[in-house]
């Protein structure tokens, strides 16, 4: 990168910080790879944990899809893995089916798409893209990972309980989840679920606080808010959502813990179990739903926003065009963040709530379609007539846009409080949220991995395998989730072990379709092995990465190919321009990185940008203060 080193005059203070760099590099194995405070290492820890969890969570879905697609199949061959959960008749245990559904949801939503996605990329990209040496507090960041690890281990251990893990659905509604007598999974399994989630919430809060603090306080000189890449904006909003909503889930969980373990009646009232009246009086199970969905809805955006942010970056880079509507993108993310907090009751239309209140929430819900549509249009207009370069990351990003649209459309249908009476808790909802949240965010995750792998490991992933992986996944995901809309409209409820009483002989009519979905799921899941192999093989044996493999503008590509702790050797680069100067008329190359001053690009400057040249001195003048802040 000629541009990164062109500021020779800035190098004078460099020696000082450089000495410091070396002091702490004599790290042993434990401090370097395990209890590391380096944001890049922590990001990789999150990523690899996320990938492992994704395979576990995915395999669960394959097992319950076998039951749904082939209800008569003999599953004896699974006994070596599942043991007693396959009963004498060679069938999947009914209780365990519910446990699998619950664990699949929990693992995917929280461990893969929250920790694995936000944890990985917020950690990895925030300091590198805003020009910081690390997070505001490396120590809290490390704690955040290890709390997540602890939470993972508890959840993992609960899989091996004799009574099975939690089984009441990922939303764990009481009274089912509150009463150990209600089902086997509501015993110790639920206790461990709650313990695990408590640690998970603490981990998320520590991570989120760090992300916000870093973005606000540690931007390099010249990196004003309106010069930040959209990735950073999205991570920032995600962290704000988490900071405001996870404590609410904690409160819901705490009250549930009190009900379960101490006999209070926050959620329980006048219940009979096997003919016996319980002492609980005066509780309200609906209260739990309010608290849960106050997190639950923002959570879906916590999962999606980082994917959208990374996609903006990848699409702009690989269309060789400025992102269309940069400020509109920020505005719509802000709109989504605000609206996300006032639509939660659309998950509760059929709980008997006041129909007037239902209409209010319906109205608010439909408003969310506006910023969502703005984002979709902006992606499309960015792609429109661009010089598209179809890297695997780009394909996954385009895939995300497609999934976001096809899943978002059904959201508008579900958001209608009258239609929802019919569709609530059917496979239509399953189709909706898997497309718009599950698959879209998963595609964002994959896009991010393919795009930033060279920065993470200094090596390239194999492209051809990337293409194969993409096409299997893209076609597969649609084959799995599209037919589910029809099954849902036909009235199949979700989380049912078998369908013996669907109206109009529905069960028989949809046997083939269910089998088709299951086969598609198996193929799609198996195809992920291609990714796993590509990923782990390339870490060690991949082609060495060049400095800036995608000719991208953002700061991370100015850091050394294998950055040490501290990211930049010598000065952190300054930032003079926004990150989307691609294919600028008059420029020598079709990209101008953020650290190139306008004074160096006279031929391509717009008239108003000439005025920016005067400000460059001010930006450079901040260098002393910036160094000061690290060297105290």
């Amino acid at each position: 990168m000629s541009t990164a080193t062109s500021h020779a005059e800035e190098v004078h203070t460099h020696d000082h910080s450089h000495d410091h760099e070396h002091e702490h590099h004599e790290l042993n194995f434990w401090t370097k790879y395990v209890f590391s405070t380096d944001h890049k290492t922590i990001a990789k820890q999150y990523l690899i944990s996320g990938i492992l969890w994704a395979f576990i969570g995915g395999s669960f879905s394959i097992i319950f899809r076998l039951q749904l697609g082939f209800p008569d199949m003999q599953l004896d061959w699974l006994r070596p893995i599942l043991g007693e959960w396959i009963d004498e008749g060679g069938k999947l245990d009914k209780e365990f089916y519910l446990a699998l559904v619950t664990m699949h949801g929990t693992i995917m939503v929280f461990f893969v798409l929250t920790a694995g996605l936000s944890g990985t990329f917020s950690n990895f990209l925030i300091p590198l893209q805003i020009g910081a040496r690390d997070m505001a507090s490396g120590f809290i960041n490390m704690l955040s990972y290890w709390f997540f690890f602890l939470s993972s281990m508890i959840m993992f251990a609960s899989l091996f309980l004799e009574t099975g893990p939690a089984s009441g659905g990922w939303v764990i509604y009481p009274p089912l989840s509150a009463l150990p007598q209600a089902m086997p999974g509501s015993g110790l399994g639920m206790t461990m679920w709650l313990t695990s989630m408590t640690f998970f919430i603490i981990s998320s809060l520590m991570g989120g606080i760090n992300y916000i603090c870093t973005v606000i306080n540690l931007r390099t000189r010249g990196m004003t808010f309106t010069k930040m890449p959209l990735t950073i904006w999205s991570f920032f909003f995600t962290a704000v959502l988490g900071l405001l909503s996870f404590p609410v889930l904690l409160s819901a969980a705490l009250l549930l813990i009190f009900d379960r373990s101490f006999g209070t009646s926050f959620y329980l009232s006048e219940i009979y179990i096997q003919g016996q009246a319980l002492p609980n009086m005066g509780g309200s199970p609906i209260l739990y739903q309010h608290l849960f969905w106050f997190l639950g809805h923002p959570e879906v955006y916590i999962v999606l926003l980082p994917a959208l942010g990374m996609t903006s970056e990848i699409i702009a880079t690989n269309s060789r065009k400025p992102i269309f509507g940069y400020r509109a993108m920020i505005g719509s993310m802000m709109g989504i963040t605000v609206l996300a907090f006032i639509v939660w009751a659309h998950h509760m239309f059929v709980t008997g709530m006041n129909p007037f209140l239902g209409s209010v929430f319906m109205f608010l819900t439909l408003i969310i379609a506006v910023p969502s549509a703005v984002k979709a249009f902006n992606y499309i207009t960015t792609l429109w007539r661009g010089n598209l370069i179809f890297t695997p990351a780009m394909l996954f990003s385009i895939g995300l846009v497609s999934l976001f649209i096809s899943g978002g459309v059904t959201g508008i249908i579900l958001g209608n409080s009258a239609l929802d009476i019919n569709l609530h808790d059917t496979y239509f909802v399953v189709a909706h949220f898997h497309l718009v949240m599950g698959a879209a965010s998963f595609f964002g995750l994959m896009a991010g991995v393919y795009h930033w792998f060279p920065k993470m490991f200094g090596r390239m992933m194999n492209k051809t395998l990337g293409y194969i992986h993409f096409w299997f996944t893209f076609v597969g995901v649609y084959m799995v989730f599209f037919p589910m809309h029809y099954i849902g409209i036909a009235g199949f409820p979700r989380r049912y072990y078998s369908f013996t009483a669907v109206g109009n002989d529905g069960a028989a009519a949809f046997t083939d379709m269910n089998a088709f979905i299951s086969i598609a799921a198996i193929i799609t899941f198996t195809a992920q092995a291609i990714f796993a192999w590509n990923f782990f093989y390339s870490i060690f044996k991949g082609k060495l990465a060049p400095q800036n493999p995608w000719n991208s503008n953002t700061l991370e590509w100015t850091a050394p190919i294998n950055p040490e702790h501290g990211n930049w050797v010598g000065e952190i680069p300054a930032v003079y321009r926004w990150p989307y100067d691609y294919s600028k008329p008059g420029a020598e190359q079709d990209f101008i990185p953020q650290n190139v001053p306008f004074s160096a690009t006279k031929s391509s400057n717009l008239p108003e940008e000439e005025a920016e040249i005067a400000k460059e001195k001010d930006i450079d003048g901040l260098l002393g203060a910036q160094n000061e802040s690290y060297n105290r």
Binding site: S17, H20, E21, E23, H24, T37, R133, D134, A136, S137, G138, F139, I140, L205, G208, I209, N210, I212, C213, T214, I216, N217, L218, L243, L244, S245, F246, P247, V248, L250, S251, A252, L254, L255, F258, F262, G263, T264, S265, F266, M281, G282, G283, S284, L287, H290, L291, F294, H565, G566, A625, Q626, E628, S629, Y630, N631, R632
Partner: protein, 192 residues
């Protein structure tokens, strides 16, 4: 660990000190936690079947004690700014003792509740009082831990007009916990 922190963790040159800022974000998450509880309280109360009772009298006194401790905390900060070490040690110790006293009084407040036949297990109106005061107490314990670090630092002369970050963080948190209890107490008085 130490050397890493020296290099990586920036000190106060920016407009906001990242450590104090982190504390504020932490406070925001606590606010959301209690906002959730008090909204849950209101939602649940609106559904009826709600047993009413008087707040224990001790809660009023403990509130006074906590306010007093906040005043002492503020006084410590002023003393630190002026390098008046004896005054600092004195007032920060008093803050700590008052904090402990508050916790003891809260506990006796619970005993008063039990004497009024309001139990943790029973009608949610009572359970909520225990949960709100209990969780506040738990946070106050964490406040005491932060305070004890500042206290030790004060006795070792690590807090002075040039090194105010620690005591500022401590004071921010302590005042917040005070304000939080005031909110909860007034909330309970109005809504019970």
């Amino acid at each position: 660990m130490k050397s890493t922190e020296n290099v990586i963790e920036p000190a106060e040159t920016r407009s906001v000190n990242p450590k104090i800022f982190t504390m504020w974000l932490f406070i925001v998450s606590i606010i959301m936690l209690f906002a959730a509880f008090t909204s849950a309280y209101l939602v649940r109360k609106a559904e009826g079947n709600w047993v009413e009772f008087e707040m224990p009298s001790l809660f009023s006194y403990s509130t006074g004690v906590l306010i007093l401790s906040s005043i002492m905390m503020h006084y410590s900060l002023l003393a630190a700014k002026k390098d008046q070490f004896n005054a600092l040690r004195m007032s920060i110790s008093i803050t700590f003792v008052l904090g402990l006293l508050f916790l003891v009084m809260q506990f006796y407040g619970w005993i008063q509740l039990v004497e009024m036949n309001v139990y943790f297990v029973g009608n949610p109106s009572g359970s909520f009082v225990y949960v709100l005061s209990g969780l506040h107490g738990l946070h106050l314990v964490s406040g005491l831990v932060v305070l004890i670090f500042a206290l030790v630092a004060a006795f070792r002369l690590k807090i002075n007009a040039k090194q105010l970050t620690q005591i500022k963080i401590c004071a921010t948190y302590w005042h917040f916990l005070d304000a939080l209890w005031l909110y909860l107490f007034v909330f309970l008085l109005i809504n019970n």
